[in-house]
C-alpha cells in the first residue's frame, strides 16, 4: 500500500503538478496567439516579447507596491500589480496597433506583411525591455512560496516520496481555469464576443451586419493584454523572470495553438496540455515509479526514459511537424477557404 502511495505521490509531484502548471502558463500565451490569429488574421511573432513587456510593467509596479509596503501575504504582491499593469499593457498594445498594424489593415496588406511587422515590433520591444529593466533576471516573488513543502509532507504522511505544491503552481492552474472560463463566457454569451467571432468567421459579412471593426480590434488587444499580463506574471512567479526567456516559449506557444487549430480558443487550451505533457511524459524517468509498483526483482536498472531531456526542445518542433503533415487545421480548427 505504501508503495502505491509513494508511486502516486512521486508522479504527482514531479509530473502532474509541474505539467499542469506549465500547461496553464502556456495556455495564456497560446490563447493570445490564437485570438490575434483568429480576429486580426496574422501570426504575432511579437507575442512572447509582449508577455515579457507585460511582466516587466508588473515587476516595476510590484517593486513600487512593496516599497509602499502593500502586501496581501501569503499571496504574492504581484497579483495586485497585475490588475494595475493590465490597463498600461493594453494601452501599449493598442498604441502599437494604431501606429503600425492599423495602416497595414487600411491598405489590406497580406498576412505575411503583418508577420514581418510583428517581427519588427518584437525587435523593438526587445530593445525597450533591455533599456528599461536590463537583460538580467529579476526576482519579484514574495509571500508564501509553498503550500506544501517536501519536509512537511514527509512529516505528515511518513512517505518517502514527497508531494510538493508551490503557491505559484496552484495560482497558475486556478487562474488559468478562471480566465479560460471567463474568456469562453465572453466569446459565447456576450454581444461583443459574438461580434468578434462573427468578424473572425467572415469579415465582410460581419461588417455588412454593422459590426464596428475598430471596436473589435480594441477589444481583442485588451483581451490579449489581460492574457499576456497573467501568463507572463504567473510564469515569472513560478520560474523567475528573465526578460528573454519568453522568446523560448514562442515555439511551444505556437505549437500549442497550431495543435488545437489556430483561431480556436478551446484548441489553444487543449494544445497547451498536449505540448506540456508531451515534453514531460516523453522525457520523464519512470524508474522510480516502476520500482514502487513492480515486484522487487523486476525493478528496472536504467532510468526508463523514452527520450533524454536534452531532446525536450525538439518535441515542440516534432508536434508542430506532425500536426502540419497529418491534420494541418489542428484538432479544433476549421478548414479555411
Amino acid at each position: 500500500m505504501t508503495d502505491i502511495l509513494n508511486a502516486f505521490s512521486h508522479i504527482t509531484s514531479l509530473l502532474v503538478i509541474p505539467g499542469l502548471a506549465y500547461a496553464s502558463q502556456l495556455a495564456f500565451g497560446a490563447l493570445g496567439v490564437t485570438l490575434i490569429f483568429g480576429v486580426l488574421r496574422f501570426s504575432n511573432f511579437a507575442h512572447a516579447e509582449g508577455m515579457s513587456l507585460a511582466t516587466m510593467f508588473c515587476i516595476l509596479i510590484t517593486v513600487w507596491l512593496q516599497g509602499a509596503s502593500v502586501s496581501i501575504a501569503p499571496l504574492p504582491t504581484a497579483l495586485i500589480a497585475m490588475f494595475l499593469a493590465i490597463p498600461l499593457v493594453a494601452l501599449v498594445f493598442i498604441g502599437t496597433d494604431r501606429a503600425l498594424y492599423k495602416h497595414f489593415r487600411a491598405i489590406n496588406a497580406k498576412p505575411e506583411v503583418f508577420m514581418i511587422v510583428s517581427a519588427g515590433i518584437m525587435l523593438i520591444s526587445n530593445g525597450v525591455i533591455r533599456v528599461v529593466i536590463g537583460p538580467e533576471g529579476q526576482s519579484f516573488a514574495d509571500g508564501e512560496r509553498f503550500i506544501l513543502t517536501a519536509r512537511e509532507f514527509r512529516e505528515w504522511t511518513g512517505l518517502t516520496e514527497a508531494l510538493v505544491l508551490k503557491t505559484s503552481q496552484l495560482l497558475s492552474i486556478v487562474l488559468a481555469l478562471i480566465a479560460g472560463g471567463l474568456l469562453f463566457w465572453f466569446l459565447n454569451r456576450t454581444q461583443m464576443g459574438r461580434s468578434m467571432r462573427a468578424y473572425s468567421d467572415n469579415r465582410n459579412l460581419a461588417l455588412l451586419s454593422g459590426v464596428d471593426p475598430n471596436k473589435i480590434v480594441w477589444v481583442t488587444w485588451i483581451l490579449v493584454a489581460v492574457l499576456s499580463v497573467m501568463g507572463g506574471v504567473l510564469f515569472g512567479l513560478d520560474k523567475g523572470y528573465r526578460p528573454f526567456v519568453f522568446q523560448q516559449m514562442l515555439l511551444p506557444m505556437f505549437a500549442a495553438a497550431v495543435v488545437g487549430g489556430l483561431g480556436s480558443p478551446v484548441g489553444a487550451v487543449v494544445g497547451s496540455m498536449v505540448v506540456a505533457f508531451s515534453e514531460l511524459l516523453l522525457t520523464f524517468a519512470w524508474k522510480k515509479f516502476l520500482a514502487y509498483l513492480l515486484p522487487t526483482g523486476l525493478a528496472p536498472e536504467s532510468l526508463m526514459q523514452i527520450l533524454a531531456t536534452e531532446y525536450k526542445f525538439a518535441i515542440s518542433f516534432l508536434i508542430l511537424v506532425i500536426v502540419l503533415l497529418i491534420k494541418p487545421t489542428g484538432l479544433f480548427g476549421r478548414a479555411t477557404k
Binding site: S13, L14, L15, P18, G19, Y22, E136, G137, S139, F146, T149, A150, R151, F153, R154, A162, V164, K166, F235, K239, G240, R242, F244, V245, F246, Q248, M249, P252, E279, L280, T283, F284, A285, W286, K287, K288, L303, Q305, A308, T309, E310, K312, F313
Partner: protein
C-alpha cells in the same frame, strides 16, 4: 590627433619594409581586439607591454636585444580571421613567438594551422578548453590559464574528501560545460564515486521540470551543477530544491555567484571550486601594475603578463629567440630561484649566468601535463550567506 599618427604610420611602414635587425625580437600579441571579449583585451595587451618594457629596460635579454610587440586581432570567434592574422604575424612580421590566442576555438585553429607548421611557440593566457590538452602541438603550445579539466579533477577530489560517493550531474550544454563534466565524471569515478546521471541542460529555457525530475529519479547525495548561476544552473538548483529531492549542491566557477544566495536563501548548502589567485605573486603584481599605471584586476591580465614573461625568459634560457619552446617548462617550474612580478631582470641575469629559475609570476605559474598551468583554486562553501574559503587547492 592627426600629427602623432604620421610618425606612427611611418614607423609601421619601416618596420614592415625592413627585415628585423639582428637584435630586434618581435613578439606577436594575438587577442580579440574586436568581438565578444573586446572589453577584456586592452588590459591584457597592457600586461604584455608591461612585461616587455621590463625586459627591454633591463637590457639583459640575449645580449641586449629589444623586444617589439606586434598586435593582431583574433576576433575570439572567427577562426578564419584569426588564422589569417596569425599567418600575417608569422610570414610578414616574422614574429619569433605568439602571446595568444585568447579564446579556445581560435587558439586551436591558429595552433594547428599556423604555429605547428611554422614551428612557432605559442602561450595562451586564456584558452581553458580541455580539448587543447591533446598532445598534438609538438611541444609548441602552453597556457598560463588552467584547463577546465583541472577544475573537474579538483571538484571530484573535494567531493571524495567530503565522503560523498554518489552524485547526479547537470551541466550547461556548451564546450565549457561538456568539458568540465567529462573531466569531473572521469576523475570522480576513478576515485570510487558514482555519477548516477550526467545530463546537459540548455541555458535560457522556459521550463526545467523535465531535467529536474530525471535528476531526482537518478538520485545521489549531492547534485553537481556545472553551469551558470544566472542561467540554467540556477533553474536546475531551484527546481531541485523545490521538489525536495536534493538539498546539497556542488558547483564550479560558473556557479560561484552571490546571485545564488540572494535568490535561494542564506541557508543554501552549496560548495565547490573556483580559480583563485592568492599569495605573494598576485600581491606583488597588483603593486607593480599599479605603479606602472596598468590595470591588474581585470580577467586574464595576470596570466598575460606571465605568458609574455615566460616566452622571454625561455628565449634567454635557450640562448636564441627561435628555439625557446623547449625551455618554457624549465623556467616555469622548479628547481631554481623563485621569480615574482617585477623581478624579470633578476631572472634574466640568473639565466645569463647559467643558473636555474622557477618562475612564479602573478598567477603562481606551475606547468603540468602537456603544458598548462596547474592554477590555484579555492574550495568555497556557503556560510551564513557568503562564500567562504574552506582551503586553497594548489598545485602539488
Amino acid at each position: 590627433m592627426k600629427k602623432p599618427m604620421l610618425p606612427l604610420l611611418l614607423g609601421t611602414t619601416v618596420m614592415l619594409a625592413n627585415p628585423a635587425m639582428a637584435e630586434d625580437i618581435k613578439l606577436g600579441v594575438l587577442f580579440g581586439f574586436t568581438g565578444p571579449i573586446e572589453s577584456l583585451t586592452p588590459p591584457m595587451a597592457g600586461a604584455a607591454e608591461l612585461a616587455t618594457k621590463e625586459v627591454n629596460d633591463s637590457g639583459l635579454l640575449l645580449d641586449g636585444s629589444t623586444v617589439v610587440l606586434v598586435q593582431a586581432d583574433s576576433t575570439c570567434i572567427d577562426s578564419g580571421a584569426a588564422t589569417a592574422a596569425a599567418e600575417r604575424l608569422v610570414t610578414s612580421d616574422k614574429v619569433a613567438a605568439i602571446v595568444g590566442a585568447d579564446c579556445s576555438g581560435v587558439t586551436t585553429a591558429v595552433l594547428n594551422n599556423v604555429a605547428v607548421p611554422n614551428d612557432i611557440l605559442m602561450i595562451s593566457p586564456s584558452a581553458t578548453s580541455p580539448a587543447l590538452a591533446a598532445d598534438t602541438d609538438n611541444g609548441l603550445f602552453f597556457r598560463t590559464a588552467p584547463s577546465d579539466a583541472r577544475q573537474g579533477e579538483l571538484l571530484a577530489l573535494v567531493l571524495i574528501e567530503r565522503d560523498i560517493k554518489t552524485v547526479a550531474v547537470s551541466y550547461t550544454n556548451n564546450d565549457y560545460g561538456k568539458g568540465f563534466a567529462d573531466a569531473f565524471t572521469a576523475a570522480y569515478e576513478e576515485a570510487g564515486g558514482t555519477a548516477t546521471l550526467v545530463s546537459p541542460h540548455d541555458d535560457g529555457k522556459a521550463d526545467y521540470s523535465a531535467e529536474v525530475s530525471a535528476l531526482s529519479v537518478a538520485g545521489g547525495e549531492v547534485l553537481v551543477v556545472l553551469g551558470y548561476a544566472d542561467q540554467g544552473g540556477f533553474g536546475i538548483m531551484q527546481g531541485a530544491l523545490d521538489s525536495g529531492t536534493f538539498d546539497t549542491f556542488a558547483g564550479g566557477d560558473g556557479m560561484h555567484s552571490k546571485i545564488l544566495i540572494e535568490r535561494l536563501g542564506d541557508d543554501l548548502n552549496v560548495f565547490g571550486t573556483v580559480p583563485w589567485s592568492v599569495g605573494l605573486g598576485a600581491e606583488k603584481f597588483d603593486e607593480y601594475a599599479a605603479a606602472a599605471g596598468k590595470e591588474s584586476d581585470s580577467s586574464f591580465v595576470r596570466e598575460t603578463y606571465d605568458a609574455t614573461a615566460l616566452i622571454l625568459l625561455a628565449m634567454q634560457k635557450a640562448g636564441s629567440a627561435e628555439n625557446a619552446a623547449g625551455s618554457v617548462t624549465d623556467v616555469a617550474n622548479a628547481p631554481g630561484e623563485k621569480i615574482y612580478p617585477g623581478e624579470l631582470a633578476k631572472g634574466l641575469q640568473i639565466l645569463k649566468d647559467g643558473g636555474e629559475i622557477d618562475y612564479v609570476g602573478a598567477s603562481d605559474v606551475e606547468l603540468i601535463g602537456t603544458g598548462e598551468s596547474a592554477g590555484s583554486y579555492r574550495e568555497f562553501e556557503n556560510r551564513d550567506g557568503s562564500f567562504e574559503t574552506v582551503r586553497m587547492l594548489l598545485a602539488e
